[in-house]
């Protein structure tokens, strides 16, 4: 199977690559539209700042390439946020694959620390990336912005308020958490994506 990881100015690309290799898949890391289009699966990872990253994608005309992908695509963390319509982080116009807004966490209590960092549970999981056995399992998050629960929400996590731990629409899948850093649960989720 050909898996492509979108190469752009974001961190964490190699962690995803390592995780796939542990599952026996050797991904290609590329920004080449041709390689991305012909891959069986595409992963859009990301750690970084929304506005800077969107500027980079637009400048390199990668925004249109990502939106037009027809095979299963998995956005991770910032990748998921950039697949939404707009982000409060740098007031960024994003890809608009999911008609949803990315908002900044506002702490309610002193204990509500931002970023939301560490292991938290996923609930109300839906088919696609998830199976019923993954309900209430812990996955690893690091983020300061979140996508509210909406019609595309495929898993929910509660921190400060319930938010989208995962989104799904057509061939586009996304996780706010890092499956590549989520131990054996993350491996199951990545395997499920590779099976789509």
């Amino acid at each position: 199977m050909d898996v492509a990881i979108i190469k752009y100015n974001a961190g964490n690309i190699y962690s995803v690559s390592y995780a796939l290799k542990r599952l026996g898949v050797s991904p290609v890391i590329t920004a080449d539209p041709e390689l991305l289009n012909k891959a069986d699966k595409v992963i859009f990872p990301g750690v970084g700042e929304a506005q800077t990253t969107m500027d980079y994608l637009k400048e390199h005309k990668m925004d249109a390439v990502i939106k037009d992908l027809k095979q299963p695509v998995l956005g991770i963390c910032l990748g998921m946020q950039l697949m939404c319509r707009h982000s409060e982080e740098g007031d960024a116009e994003c890809l608009g694959i999911f008609d949803a807004e990315v908002k900044k966490f506002i702490p309610h209590r002193h204990e509500d620390k931002v970023p939301h960092m560490g292991w938290n549970t996923i609930t109300q999981v839906k088919d696609g990336l998830f199976t019923a056995q993954l309900e209430n399992k812990f996955v690893y998050f690091v983020h300061s912005y979140y996508v509210p629960v909406n019609e595309y929400t495929a898993a929910t996590t509660n921190y400060i308020q319930p938010f989208s731990a995962s989104l799904h629409k057509d061939n586009f899948y996304a996780t706010q958490f890092h499956p590549e850093k989520s131990g054996s649960v993350g491996e199951v989720i990545l395997r499920n994506f590779l099976k789509l």
């Binding site: 961190g11 190699y14 962690s15 390592y18 995780a19 290799k21 542990r22 750690v47 970084g48 700042e49 702490p107 002193h110 620390k113 931002v114 970023p115 939301h116 960092m117 560490g118 292991w119 938290n120 549970t121 812990f138 690893y140 690091v142 300061s144 509660n158 921190y159 890092h178 590549e180 850093k181 989520s182 131990g183 054996s184 993350g186 491996e187």
Partner: protein, 251 residues
């Protein structure tokens, strides 16, 4: 609910795991990648790898080790030791580390914290503080606890947060190696003062100590080394115990 984290710490010298008792004598405790993988399987939530070799050669060995850890282990890990400038951070993050911890270099040059946060994000920047309780005050130390500074724990932790630290890793030199529990009073004050997570370090000897540092010390994570390396406490058993004691942990 966000889980409290259990964090085994591996001190690395010349590519091998060691553990200091009160920062001096060392005992050998195994292969770092194997040990990390085993902790991950047992349920560790994160790992910390600290490079305690200062030589240039040792640093290259450590970077190679970081690559191996990233390739083999599927939970987040922090690396520290010998990080003096931004290019050290870049080298270690590029090798696959999720976070870096800075200690002496940040005390000498606090703007390093700001630079790391600006270039890589606060979430990668752990500020490690070694402090000793002396005459009613917590004094911060440089160079693995060898040189006292003018800085006080609470003041320095708040300053680090303002500069962009993503987490504070507080090691009580007073409690480290003594195995009589964490510095829960100081930890609790840190938790009340700060808006970023605090990792408790120094003093773990029994399972109760972990419970107490989460419940009384209000720590977000608890770090320990020798109790895990020498098999005195199993991580899986510890998590079951904490769960039974009402602490939210990932099982």
């Amino acid at each position: 609910m966000l889980a409290k984290r259990i964090v085994p710490c591996l001190d690395i010298k010349d590519g091998k795991t060691v553990k200091g008792i009160n920062f001096v004598n060392f005992r050998d405790a195994g292969d770092p990648v194997e040990l990390g993988a085993q902790y991950s399987r047992e349920g560790a939530d994160e790992l910390v790898y600290l490079d305690i070799t200062a030589s240039h050669e040792g640093r290259k060995t450590f970077t190679e080790l970081v690559k191996k850890v990233a390739a083999n282990i599927s939970i987040p890990f922090t690396v520290g030791g010998g990080i003096n400038e931004l290019k050290d951070v870049d080298r270690l993050l590029s090798a696959g580390a999720d976070k870096v911890s800075v200690n002496s270099a940040a005390l000498r040059n606090p703007s390093l914290i700001e630079e790391i946060a600006k270039n890589f994000g606060s979430q990668v920047c752990v500020v490690a503080i070694d402090a000793n309780y002396e005459d009613g005050d917590w004094i911060c130390y440089l160079n693995g606890g060898r040189i006292p500074t003018e800085k006080h724990l609470f003041q320095w932790a708040a300053e680090a947060e303002n500069l962009g630290a993503g987490e504070i890793l507080f090691t009580s030199m007073t409690h480290d190696g003594v195995k009589d529990g964490y510095a829960n009073d100081a930890l609790s004050t840190l938790a009340d003062n700060l808006h970023i997570p605090v990792i408790a370090s120094g003093g773990a000897g029994k399972m109760e100590h972990f419970r107490d540092t989460f419940a009384r010390g209000k720590a977000d994570a608890a770090l320990a080394a020798s109790v895990f390396h020498f098999g005195e406490i199993g991580i899986a058993d510890l998590k079951l115990y904490l769960n039974k004691e009402g602490i939210n942990v990932r099982i």
